[in-house]
Symmetry: C2
Subunit: 442 residues, 2 copies
């Protein structure tokens, strides 16, 4: 029997804007795996043109066979280009201008730009839908893990009850290194920067903004809602101390930065809860074993049950793998709605107010080493209606004369913890803001 499946000779012609490590990685991947890719895509994928800041820079890949454009927006105007691959970065500016121009010109767009998709993804998806071209951004979330595809297509038959995971490799590297070495945040951050696991300006990562970008994208696809980056409640990892990690360890937990989203039915209709915050994760939970710059996403569907997708969250190879997978999908003519359902049908849900939700919580205070402090704290907990499951006071003060008091609460309303901590605001016994870390349910 001979196959009559359509075989095409016309290659898919791409232009790449941005030749940093990821851009060079894509060029290297397309060359290294050219044979496999042609077989799977049904046609060759061919780099036609590139653009970057510095033409002469040595990137370890040969770009002499590609047309060069000094002005990257010219890539969107080339008649010999089917797909523009945007690897410039930045939520606005040249990346956004190029993306708009490419889609408007009827070219497909592949991007690894989480910030741009989190801020302008809906506009770009509408442009893509209007021009009937693909907009794909697998590489924007969780590096090489096919989690956009996993949610958009793998769990497509499910109403998801929850999506959550470890979405930032830098934070996970820092937290798991603190755990392994006992070192404090600032030291591990400096080491991570030296080893290339953290940016020179690490704020986007350690403040949780990068994870929030990714979460906003996952929520939209998972729940069929409009991307709402502004609605993500974000808390980073800068307040987590080595002593918190040691304390969590003694209680059977690790600390991970978790992004989580769900849709809550309220009397006023459904609301979308999205938040990024460090959590205590019990050792039995699959996310507790995720170490180093690894990412992992859990999706819980009403029929599929709990699914876990795990892998490298960044790096040129994994990111290039995701970019090229998108290109193969496009070569295969898979041009569906970028957010799984057309933008016009995505629900605009107001952000949920989580105060009435219940959880167990780890609360850590740094306090002055003097009589009456414990009584003051526990009285506030009582008055806030927070039930304490266990409480540990460190035996001796640190160099600053501070003592650490850490407690785990019974399951109770989040608002109660906030109320109790409000009662302690301005207390002279406390030497700083208390740290509140929820305990992720198993």
């Amino acid at each position: 029997m001979t196959t009559t499946a359509p075989l095409r000779t016309a290659p898919l012609r791409i232009a790449i804007a941005g030749l940093g490590t990821v851009g060079a990685g894509v060029i290297r991947l397309l060359a290294t795996n050219a044979g496999i890719i042609s077989a799977r895509a049904g046609r060759r994928i061919e780099v036609v043109a590139v653009s970057a800041r510095d033409r002469s820079k040595n990137r370890g890949v040969d770009i002499s066979g590609f047309a060069w454009e000094d002005d990257m927006s010219a890539l969107a105007r080339r008649d010999d280009v089917d797909v523009v691959v945007e690897l410039v970065g930045g939520s606005d500016g040249p990346a956004l201008a190029l993306s708009r121009a490419a889609l408007s010109a009827g070219k497909a767009l592949v991007t690894a730009n989480k910030a741009m998709i989190a801020h302008h993804g809906l506009e770009l998806a509408e442009l893509a839908e209007a021009n009937n071209v693909a907009l794909k951004f697998e590489a924007a979330v969780a590096g090489g893990i096919p989690v956009i595809k996993g949610l958009r297509e793998g769990t497509s038959a499910n109403a998801l009850t929850k999506v959550y995971g470890i979405l930032n490799g830098t934070c996970n590297y820092i937290l798991s290194t603190m755990e392994r070495t006992g070192a404090d945040f600032a030291d591990v951050l400096a080491e991570a920067q030296a080893r290339g696991f953290a940016e020179a300006d690490p704020a986007f990562d350690i403040e949780g903004v990068d994870a929030a970008h990714k979460l906003a994208i996952l929520s939209a696809i998972g729940f069929g809602t409009r991307v709402d980056f502004a609605g993500v409640r974000v808390c980073g990892i800068t307040q987590v101390r080595a002593a918190d990690i040691a304390q969590a360890d003694a209680l059977g937990f690790v600390i991970r930065l978790i992004g989580e989203a769900d849709v809550e039915d309220t009397e006023d209709g459904p609301r979308l809860l999205q938040r990024v915050r460090p959590c205590l994760v019990a050792r039995g939970h699959p996310l507790s074993a995720v170490d180093g710059p690894t990412n992992a996403v859990v999706a819980e569907g009403n029929f599929s049950g709990r699914l876990l997708f795990q892998g490298a969250g960044a790096g040129d190879g994994p990111t290039a793998s995701a970019v090229a997978a998108d290109l193969i999908d496009i070569a295969r003519d898979e041009v569906g709605a970028p957010f799984s359902i057309p933008v016009a049908q995505l629900a605009a849900l107001p952000p949920a107010e989580p105060g009435h939700r219940t959880e167990r919580t780890y609360i850590r205070f740094m306090v002055k080493d003097r009589p009456g402090v414990l009584a003051e704290i526990t009285a506030a907990m009582r008055d806030g209606n927070v039930s304490i499951e266990s409480l540990i006071q460190q035996g001796r003060g640190n160099a600053a004369g501070e003592v650490m008091v850490a407690m785990v609460t019974h399951e109770g309303q989040e608002a109660n913890v906030s109320a109790a901590l409000t009662l302690l605001e301005g207390s002279e016994s406390l030497t700083g803001e208390p740290l509140v870390l929820p305990i992720l349910p198993l």
Copy 2:
């Protein structure tokens, strides 16, 4: 802006053959999640006709609105059906006849039938390609985990170096329960049967055949090779004793049934290694934390690095989730080659001979409790050129007067272990066949 993406009003019309727990699950899912599915699929997915053995049986779902066919092959002849969903089971017989008839009639086929795809997948894929219709079988491997999609599309840009994982929920349930309770194989199997985690005839599961079916399918997609079920080397879990699990535990390992495949370049060209066997898995390995009837698949790509897909390996909900995801793909007109590349281009690789490969190995002997036994065993190891890393002899014999001797070897050639054990064949010191379990590399 209004979308001009094609909106279709014609529903995708499906017929379901087989109304066991999975078939009923699919009907329940399509009804429960109808709104979401229509939005994501771009059109309604509508059950038109069904067929099963007993029309009057109560399945907990209302089938009165569907046409009934006593003869399931009639489903393939109905003009009002676009897709036939085959949930009958069995590698040949009615399931295969229906599948051939459906594809030949130009209807898409969705199946959960791993045995049929492992044995006849290539023939069916050729039929699908010749008729330009979809053949999809996400539910055939690892239940609700989108791992067919993960390999076919998620890692499509990679040359995979290795695919391996926990592919049989029954075995994993038995092994992890033995681990937790200390009970022996036969007792746990009986309990698993009582609780519905094992079939009345468990041979397919515990002998590793079911895992081998799934592995053969994953290899084909992952490596672009022809499905070769006969080439899978299979060893089940029936020889694993509670004492092995305890011994592995003391050494920092758990025991899991692992299916693994890779392509080896030899002087005579590439060869495909596929095997299913119980392995020792170090506690730090992500597969070591996979408990109960969960499945997990690791794919290692030359750019993506290691990816892990994990979730429920069976059950009506997860399996229905995978079937319905295939239906949504078909509704979205995603009709690609079933094995990622057209059948005609799949490579026919001979099976690899792994004897020259190196690994660390756990070897357990049951021996008579008498002098000289250890000398005999260690001499055989020496003569086979097997280097022993650690050796433990249990202090006291069991009720049968047997003593357990367990060792872990240094990394060495597999053939050496075989040679050493050949030297011990017929030895009167041994009371049974030694158990050889490889140690999965981290």
